[in-house]
Symmetry: C2
Subunit: 471 residues, 2 copies
Amino acid sequence: MNYNPVTKKIVDELIGILGKKNVTIDVEKMETYSHDETSADEYGHMPEVVITPNTTEEIAEVVKLANRELIPITPRGAGSGLSGGAIPVFGGILLSVEKMNKVLEIDEANMMMVLETGIVTNEVNNLIKDKGLFYAGYPMSLETCFLGGNIAENAGGGKAVKYGVTGRYIMGMEVVTPTGDIVEFGGKLSKDVTGYDLKQLIVGSEGTLGIVTKATIKLSGLPTAKSSLLVLYKNPKDAIDCVPVIMSKGLIPTGIEFMDKLSVQTSCEYLNESLPYQQAGAMLLIEVDGTNAAQVEMETEAIGDLCMEQGAIEVYVADNFTTQERIWSVRRNIAEAFKVVSPVQSLEDIVVPIAAIPDMIPELDRISAKYDIKIPCYGHAGDGNLHATLVKNPDSTMEEWHALEPKALRELYEVTDRLGGKISGEHGIGLKRKKYMKELMNPAELKLMKGIKMAWDPNYIMNPGKMFDLD
Amino acid sequence: MNYNPVTKKIVDELIGILGKKNVTIDVEKMETYSHDETSADEYGHMPEVVITPNTTEEIAEVVKLANRELIPITPRGAGSGLSGGAIPVFGGILLSVEKMNKVLEIDEANMMMVLETGIVTNEVNNLIKDKGLFYAGYPMSLETCFLGGNIAENAGGGKAVKYGVTGRYIMGMEVVTPTGDIVEFGGKLSKDVTGYDLKQLIVGSEGTLGIVTKATIKLSGLPTAKSSLLVLYKNPKDAIDCVPVIMSKGLIPTGIEFMDKLSVQTSCEYLNESLPYQQAGAMLLIEVDGTNAAQVEMETEAIGDLCMEQGAIEVYVADNFTTQERIWSVRRNIAEAFKVVSPVQSLEDIVVPIAAIPDMIPELDRISAKYDIKIPCYGHAGDGNLHATLVKNPDSTMEEWHALEPKALRELYEVTDRLGGKISGEHGIGLKRKKYMKELMNPAELKLMKGIKMAWDPNYIMNPGKMFDLD
């Protein structure tokens, strides 16, 4: 693409639209916006200017300017993404929604909330829990991520078995299109077939089809009872084999998380936490919630019994908030812990049919042995979504890693494909997995995606270089 | 559009692809395919040829032929649609999926089922109930409609409050694109962000973006306990006022259906059924289900008590299958009953935020009085989806009806829009509501929809003339 540079004149025009304090070309300040949670060395790229608009109208004006001047725009939430979706690969304008974090409405009668998309996801639940309500979108990074990023990636998380992923709760949105129009999709409506469902097309489109400035989210009644089971198994296979059995019994836990020994240990050491991982080769962390304590207790017991029948070593039940938080914190911090202990890695996000998970485990072992790369594995087993992570062997050189990692990854993706799976369940394609789209996806399907992109973004200025390249 | 006629040569080519018994130009046989459940007089149109393919590959070949020869194709399910979506307005090829009704796989371990889309929706549940499983898509016409039609319209129904609508259960699909490619979207996966979610774009696109030939649907554990409450109110307002109160208490019934007196009476007389409607001005039909009988009983009682507190006259609880079926049959047959009693009508499908339903009722009364048109009202109150139906006054002439009905409808849609609603919750836009898209929708939003259509269907041969016209 032949984009134009962001000249002094363009910066001045941006200042005219947004005010001086919302435009920066300071290199130190811009550095923060040059990467996300993927490796900065591998995927980072500096923007030419960073802007922090305060209104939808300002964003629309900037998008029109970008079209007129042929300058790429990269929208950004909290930068907690794991696929490089918010990285300004072509420079240009980095548009952060961080200042658009207002709560516009808490509508209890409709059980909906209208928010700007720069709000931290966890904030949403803090605001409504006293009203007996909750928002079931629950990515693992909820303490830092923004709602806007969750929408862009269709974020999943630890409650998706029961509650589904972000998209289910996005009932309406305001979007600035790639040509600078302001449109509203959906509304405070449970159902709507008035035209194509553009709202759900935007969800998961990684900011390539527009910038979501406001969202109407659906709230649920806050579960008043909750329990977590920490289930210990001899080895990963025993644990994973148990998952489809639980699921097919009609028991619907909130989530079923899988952690192998290496993952638990690494996170525990990072957090200075003690879980009884020494005796176990793998664990499941299963959550049950509901509005009736007796029902939750009954389901917890039924699941615990089933796990023991299926070969678990031990079942610990955490029925109070403090213990639950401790256990979940171990799960939530695995990625962070690995980044500290072993920064050279590739955090993956494969998703397979749940009944195919048992077939995936020996394949991970095989690939690990073949390439001498550790593959600790954890993730949302109840969704078939495994964060198998390729980690560099500390004894190997960077050259060896760069030679082996792409081959191991390629093989992981091929196995995933063969088992009926896909390469991303919740982290997205972004920059990181883009080349595999071309290799693994039916060209006709890719052509349909490109068709939408070209129709909506004729100048190819909206988050270019993500998900797929145009021909 | 300048389409070419279906010549003898084209018919012969179709016979070559499909075999003689799957191609007809017999006028009597084709008549059945010239209308759906909307008025044949008003919306009906004869196809030039009707085909009943048996395989996806045959369909792809036909679509390629249609592109080459510039002949429109109208895909059709059971013809139970309520918006004229399956009517061949430009003649051409009517493609019925009626022979593609095979069950390809019942995958209990993954709780998924793979089906051809010509299967009758109710058949799906009959096939799996002995396995303790069910498919939660539940349109009111489930005894006749096809899965393919449900997908095309994103059908809702009587269980959507708890289970959502069709789209939530469509995990994968095989589609013949408007240019004749065969593509597969999704799979047996709970989560998938590998590219744009084209699957959910197809859902509800009314056959304008391709022909869905196979679908992978998600199954749920069959609820083993169920009860229905029939709640009587003095008037529609009392009944409707109760709905947001139930919803905001965190109680999640399977469905909350509203029926005004005229609707109940008409259906009861049609079915020769007796419900105690004489004493009531309106009713709610509320269903609760679950896997635990005690829990269901508790929720049923809580909802019943809440209704009485909120001004219900009486609550009848139907806790056995026979009584439940009797009551639900009354609800399901309202549309059919009205068609018999009063064939000249416009069955509507407005959807508003649930808390706005109480404001809608007096508006319906006002419009009814202003235009001297009866507006019986029933529908999925728990979703804000009301089938307010404009019915011709028997004393008025057809000329008067044709003069008044468009004005009343226009006013109904304007009120809906003002209350934050949309003109269709589950029936679709199709032919019937197309002109209102232009009037009520933001031109920028419509442009985005048209952009997708033009990118995917450059020859405009796939179900043309539905949802919106190209410029």
